[in-house]
Symmetry: C2
Subunit: 136 residues, 2 copies
């Protein structure tokens, strides 16, 4: 199948498929005489794997590791689990950070009249806050 079909079936855009190939994430497929990329059903499988990994927030580098683990039939499931759990913690940390920002802002907004008057504790806070040493 051509790249377009592989894209549709895997949920990965043709553009990205080419990119993944260029960075060595996936192996270059065979080519027709006219240089068209030719994909097998298994390649779609791999692409779906990548898609799923990305959807779960793994970076391409992490995805590369996961792919390697996936292909290595002899690896210990503990390796995979460790990688996954480390990622879970990262995700939860980022989620908590965003939530904290939202909470802070929501709190500030609570004290803002939100009417026609100009006074606004939100902007007042922005202007008054002293720089904290390095952010997250």
């Amino acid at each position: 199948m051509n790249i377009g079909e592989a894209a549709t079936r895997s949920g990965v855009s043709a553009k990205m498929i080419r990119y993944y190939e260029s960075i060595g994430l996936i192996t270059p497929p065979a080519r027709t005489a006219a240089q068209y990329r030719v994909y097998a059903a298994e390649d779609v499988h791999t692409l779906r794997f990548v898609r799923r990994s990305r959807d779960l927030g793994f970076s391409l580098e992490e995805t590369r590791e996961l792919l390697a683990l996936w292909r290595d039939k002899s690896r210990a499931s503990a390796d995979v689990k460790n990688l996954a759990m480390a990622h879970v913690r990262e995700l939860e940390e980022k989620a908590a950070e965003l939530k904290a920002m939202a909470d802070t802002l929501r709190h500030l907004a609570t004290h803002c009249h939100g009417d026609h008057r100009p006074d606004c504790p939100i902007l007042a806070d922005f202007a008054a806050t002293t720089p904290t040493q390095g952010k997250a």
Copy 2:
């Protein structure tokens, strides 16, 4: 004061200060004969404002709007509140997304032995999942 001191006092790197100037987020400061940028105390104030805005997850474009509102003494606090609350919702959405990813992955990991054996439901899921129409 020079850019270095303004950077230290505001918590915004010199590099970023120059960048903010280049995109018109902040107004170009005066220059010495040797082209050194010269900042006033008030400029540090502005930079802190930007820093705070960024720390709360506003994009530079949103920060630009907030700055405009800040400077416009006649705007209604409702305008600020609306912008802030819209942002709160965005932040909470993103936080929820990350949390959902974490939960999914944690769930998968629960079923992974995490020992020396190779079987791993995490990778199995990755490989089997059918592409969903568009992500987030």
